[in-house]
Symmetry: none
Amino acid sequence: MSYQIELRHFTYFLAVAEELHFRKAAERLFISQPGLSTQIKQMEAILGVQLFERDKKKVALTAAGSFLKGEIEFIMNHLQQTKKQLKLIDKGHLGEIRIGFLGSAMQKVIPDLLLKLKDRFPKVHTSLEELSNHAQVNALLKDKLDIGFVRLARVPKGLDHQTVYEDTFSLVVPMDSHIDGSNFKGVHQFAENDFILFSQDYSSLYFDTVMSICEDANFSPKVSHKSVHALTIFKLVENGLGVSIVPTALQYGFKMQVQFIELKTIKQRAILSVAWKADNRNPVLKQCLNLLLGR
Amino acid sequence: MSYQIELRHFTYFLAVAEELHFRKAAERLFISQPGLSTQIKQMEAILGVQLFERDKKKVALTAAGSFLKGEIEFIMNHLQQTKKQLKLIDKGHLGEIRIGFLGSAMQKVIPDLLLKLKDRFPKVHTSLEELSNHAQVNALLKDKLDIGFVRLARVPKGLDHQTVYEDTFSLVVPMDSHIDGSNFKGVHQFAENDFILFSQDYSSLYFDTVMSICEDANFSPKVSHKSVHALTIFKLVENGLGVSIVPTALQYGFKMQVQFIELKTIKQRAILSVAWKADNRNPVLKQCLNLLLGR
DNA sequence: AGCATTTAATAAGTATGAGTTATCAGATTG
DNA sequence: CAATCTGATAACTCATACTTATTAAATGCT
């Protein structure tokens, strides 16, 4: 004799409670009437409570049985709903993804991703955090982040990465600069200017790339200021404290009195990568990568 | 191959989800490890969703599994409570209500409620448990509690709440304090004292409110001790280790050698709320809310 | 490196009990 | 008082939830 209620008992109970007739209920359940009778009897024994009043000619719920009917209906409905949600989560249609990014990804790549997510997976929640390359790598490894938008030549073991956006670089000069788009010949024209750049520890790949751009133009830039915020850099340029070289995408999204001169001819590109932990099992991550890498 | 999930699967799943170790879980369930493995595998097959990530050396929940754990905990708790209620109804009692509370609700609100319940519904059983705000919220969501007495600015989705008692705050000072009710001018007189307060994670609203009281008096209190027990706080005050600010209601019910100075003039109030799960179907809960909110 | 000890999964056998059919006893109906 | 309902009981069977024995792979220890 089993002494544990099972869900089977619940479906049997509901059938009898609705039909109030053992034979009809048994038919509905595609089992025999004696089998149903014994199961209900067993259920009453396990619960220690009489659920049905069987008079030889009619079946009725007791007060306890009537209460139990409501509760079992609730539980079965809840269970059904849970199963549905479970499938959605498994397929990545429901859940959360934690995104880290460099400020320069906020101009185009992140909004694009968020719009696509909203469209295809409207029930997925996102949490966004602006972080340096280094902080993102750490957060990814510690599973505090699911996906990071970084500028890195390589990523540590355990992480995967893929390029998502290749941008040209642009010179950023004040509005009143005597060199502008019309008479611009090359970066070498700014060999004597002060440079304002993103800090090396915010993105060393960026820093090294800018250095190589200047090297190719046969000069070594005087770096007067470093910052981790694009806004700060533009403000300094606006006030005539120097010039800068940044990914072109940054020209959108800031209301600044500065000019952008796109460096179309140089070979260097500002490469934005997406990075994630190789063994991250968040199903939403997979969907995100599909959206980002178009696969 | 069975095509129907059973409650057995749920208890097995919970054991593995908690232990994250098949052999240990099997031991706890008093069954063999291979039996447990096949049952879990079967469960995954029936649901069509992978619940565990088995690496030869570690077991982890998937996103779907983690979600299911919470839902199954809810269902199992609800079921347990249903069984209890069923027995009570069978015996002609109305039912049971599980009450959680902060210690400071025990002075007036809880005794009032219990007296009214005893009067109007003498056959209703109550179970009482003193818990932190956070623990109460969790227990309510998982259906381990029907009603909670908390101090919270807001409650998570799924819970409803209502103010049941607004109390003034009182300063608690030693009997031999040179400042007492007769020469008390304001909280600022204690700017240099050590403060002993309820822990932030016991009730963050309380903590923040006390901080704002001190801010309004233009000082930031030195908090030398934190506790989750009113008795401890009073003991420390009694021994001259500092002063405290607590809801006035706490002055009744403890036999302590301390003075209460009621802060009638300040605007802050200690607000006690009652919280419950919006879709809780316990009929006694409705009656309780009627009694508490006078409707 | 290599041996001992983990882990979970697989294979094969067993025995419990959910289901079956056959039957019964009591109630209702013509 | 047959005929025909009802749900309960008895005896049997077969599916399957378990068991034990074993495997393959990973980790730890010397």
